[in-house]
Symmetry: C2
Subunit: 583 residues, 2 copies
């Protein structure tokens, strides 16, 4: 996925940075001066798939969002006395009712969000944005908001794909990016760091890498948590949604990495235990994680940290003959008790087809060899990853992966493919923006499966996707465990209407729910997946979430408007699959 020159016609890819204050500066991903376009072979593939011509890529489908944000149709509607009170808590400069900062915290990154923003369909914005500095300030804001019945939302990194932070009821949004992103303490004895919830992924990782300089630590550390959204994600977002990074097979998901949490809730401060294990009743850490802002505002998080030892990393990649053999091999790798690799990613045949182009393998001598040795297009499955940990551990994991892959008839593909993947791992969202200018939209859905229902879920969900018009759907398995794995579906389609996208998205979510898989492995629920949650969990089981909500936030002021389904009406819920007994 290089920005190499095309031999033939090259689409009119947008190369101009979005103006400050523009809509585009909100909906485009990240760094204003960074762009990413598909290479020529991929562009050709898309034209074929979506029956488009070069002409379709001469003009942008729509307005590209260079206008200045204007919310005159959505004025801030909050009593000035509240503004005054909030300014008293955080300081005059850290409360705003201006248009741009209000819109900037209103949307996340699902296709539905991007399409709405591209079309200036502004539905829900907060009345006021507040930039807190300290935990005490957040506690005071929550107390004030509850006393005055004002809804509160939180904007962390901004990369939610579930409409997690959308301010459905207006009110206050706390934008954590500006100030609530500091290190509170670093404890090298316990290998932990305590940070404010707005701490960003890159700042956290840099801090840990620099621990010897910053804290006089004996060595450098890593956070071990690298979701694709890493660059625009926050520790708070990771935690309340139960996120997982791409290296989770070794480091664990955030639910494993978090040691302790502190919340500002309507009933007061809640502090969870900071011990690795205990037998003292239900686990409060695991109750608060997954609450997605509905029980209170996460203020501080203590994370386990890991030793930074990139010198021990072993990269690998293999090609399997087909999905069945590849699944068997992956399962054996996770069950053989030789340790887990850090990144562990197995693509199905359709994704493999795409990835070979994306990772430029089609330009190498490897490509013709694959066919020659019977690894056939649309059957073969690419597997890649790398190990982490102490030198001997890392080596042993890689050695066992090699042994099992070869035993299952795989062909080694060298570290080249893995390196290509690493290059693109955090910047594919830039590519997404480029394509959307021409109505090609990419989005993802994911779920958890056990090994024993993986083949069926993969088949059922793909079948539904392929029945949809203009759809490429690729799947990979990642975040693996001895008892199952995450299945991650990426779909690419031609579409430019937000409501059409929502219907499309709903069809796939219905399919995941009907297949019996866990409705989310790591994206969380937010407002977009909420209608399915009670059906997935079970009514009596879901009742637990409701009593917890009523305990912490009886007035429904914390992230209200459907988050994790707590204030949905019965008719807004979907009950598609009665959970069967596991056997």
């Amino acid at each position: 996925m290089s920005n190499k020159p095309y031999k033939g016609f090259e689409p009119n890819w947008l190369r101009t940075p979005a103006p400050e204050g523009s809509y585009r500066s909100i909906f485009r991903w990240g760094d204003p001066n960074f762009f990413k376009f598909p290479k020529e072979s991929l562009y050709k593939m898309m034209k074929e798939t979506f029956k488009m011509t070069d002409d379709d890529f001469k003009e942008y489908t729509d307005d590209i969002g260079f206008d200045q944000v204007d919310l005159s149709d959505h004025p801030s509607n909050i009593d000035p006395k509240h503004i005054k009170a909030l300014k008293k808590i955080v300081g005059d400069d850290f409360v705003t009712t201006e248009d741009y900062p209000r819109l900037a915290v209103a949307y996340g990154c699902t296709g539905y969000d991007l399409l709405r923003l591209r079309h200036k369909q502004v539905e829900n914005v907060p009345d006021v944005v507040v930039y807190p500095d300290t935990t005490e300030q957040v506690e005071q804001i929550v107390e004030y908001a509850v006393k005055n019945a004002i809804p509160i939302y939180v904007y962390g990194g901004g990369s939610s794909v579930t409409r997690g932070m959308e301010a459905m009821k207006g009110g206050i949004t706390l934008d954590m990016r500006k100030r609530f992103n500091k290190v509170i303490s670093f404890n090298e004895i316990d290998q932990t760091i305590t940070v404010q919830a707005g701490m960003s992924g890159p700042k956290l990782e840099q801090t840990l890498n620099d621990a010897p300089i910053l804290f006089g630590a004996k060595r450098a550390y890593t956070c071990g948590h690298f979701p694709q959204s890493f660059e625009y994600s926050s520790v708070g977002g990771w935690t309340v949604t139960r996120g997982a990074g791409q290296n989770s097979s070794y480091y664990g998901t955030i639910a494993d990495i978090v040691l302790s949490q502190k919340y500002a809730t309507p009933i007061g401060k809640i502090v969870t235990s900071h011990y690795p294990r205990e037998a003292t009743g239900p686990n409060l850490n695991q109750i608060m994680m997954g609450s997605e802002g509905t029980f209170g505002i996460l203020t501080e998080v203590t994370l386990r940290v890991f030793r930074y030892m990139p010198e021990n990393r072993k990269r690998f990649s293999y090609m399997f003959k087909n999905w069945e053999t590849a699944m068997d091999a992956a399962r054996e790798m996770m069950q053989c008790e030789a340790g887990y690799s850090s990144v562990f990613r197995l693509s199905d045949p359709e994704e493999t087809n795409l990835m070979l182009r994306l990772y430029n393998v089609d330009d190498t001598p490897i490509a013709p060899m694959l066919d020659k040795f019977g690894y056939k297009d649309m059957e073969r499955c690419m597997f890649l990853g790398f190990t982490d940990g102490e030198k001997g551990f890392s080596k042993n994991v890689a050695k066992n992966i090699a042994k099992i892959a070869l035993k299952h008839g795989a062909m080694p593909m060298t570290g080249f493919v893995t390196k290509s993947w690493e290059k693109g791992r955090f910047n594919d969202p830039y590519l997404r923006d480029s394509l959307m200018d021409f109505s090609i939209i990419t989005d993802t859905l994911e779920c958890t499966v056990n090994w024993s229902n993986m083949a069926q879920v993969h088949r059922d969900v793909r079948k539904v996707c392929h029945a949809l018009p203009n759809t490429v759907v690729t799947t990979h398995m990642s975040h693996c465990y001895p008892q199952g794995a995450n299945l991650y579906f990426i779909f690419i389609t031609k579409m430019n209407d937000a409501d059409e996208f929502k219907r499309y998205h709903t069809t796939i979510l219905d399919a995941i729910q009907k297949s019996g898989a866990a409705i989310s492995h790591h994206h969380g629920i937010g407002k977009m997946f909420a209608p399915w949650l009670e059906g997935y969990i079970g009514e009596k089981e879901y009742g637990v979430f409701k009593v917890l909500k009523n305990y912490f936030d009886p007035d429904y002021l914390m992230n209200p408007g459907g988050t994790i389904g707590l204030d949905l009406l019965p008719e807004e819920k979907k009950f598609l699959n009665e959970r069967k007994d596991y056997r």
Copy 2:
């Protein structure tokens, strides 16, 4: 700890099996024909420590409990219509109001229980004992009991040290041992087994070892969970108390091993997820574990299972010069990312002194060498364990442990010590019975610490113990993690009165609570630790447990009478330590 003949005077150790139907058959540990006595050097040490003479060991302090159980002072007090109804559910032969089976399910294994039983102090017994066969029967019993306001208790393996199953309010006790101990399904693809909650440790392990014969499996498996109480513990007990086995540093505690649970609660059946990770709100598995029977009756549990590969096990033992160096080494072993050993046990100087005798090291040429090389008595610390897992993994773990131990000045002690420990690991409770006949009582208390407060907790708790009369207190670290470990205190004292024991026990629990450690790493809370729980968790945080209780069991019929503090009066609670912010 052999049964070798003594050279000098040998105490009148009881060698007669307890008669059927006797009190002793209830309070003694396990196999009626197995006995265990201290060897001569240990006997001498006890005489010295407790200022006793051979004369004190000629006669038993008290009645040894050979009488037939007689509960005529505690008649079953339940309406015959309920007996009829219960018989209709489980069959005529599986409901009893007889004395012996009622007392047999009334007590666990804390010193307080054993002393009460030795003195025939019967306080709380159920009115009726029921032996369910199926999940549906348990569901019907719960439904019936709730309709008729009858309290329900569960007796699993019987080895609670927290008065977990004591029927404070009478009513029904479900004795799971007789029939509710069957395998429901075995899934080799996912490496899971689903069992009824009454499944015993040894039966489960045997089943998994025999998987090729019983289920046509490709290989043998292990449950990975081996608490000291293994032989008289149940899967249900492990789960609801959040237990940990001695091999938990590698296999995880039961909270890691459990994949899914099913409960019969007053509001109906509750089934938790069976996926390894998910981002679908608060984690219901982690809410139900730790409920200790207060939310409902655990009926079925799905456990992750592991490959049975004893051929890969590497045993190790080392002697460190002192506790500080040993703690540093242990921390490095847990943080170096080379994988964790399965058993990981580090004794403090006082325990090392005792263990060298217990493991017969004092009879070997190793003993004089220790002194010679500067590993001084009451300073030196013994460290032992073994690794598990795939061959290369296991080898790498052992290699790194060796490297770190030697770097920290430890002396290798061969596999001999570890093998001695393994011999005794499940049968020390027999020794306890022998000593109690002469008023010497042993019991344990344990907690979780972070590495950064380990030294302080160890010092504070030992200080309080040593201020108690006639007390030997030994400590080991086990169940270790990168962020901390379990500290396990074993105390031996001369005492024969249940109330005196309770006061003594309370003093140590107060000390643990004041030290700031987690009040239990794996014994759970039950009724005995309950007064400290709310103080440990925090009042607002503990409120979560109460709303959960009110949701599942609004009439307080499930294990009522103080379990995890839910129905304690405010004046029965202790608030000794305000939780400080973790830094």
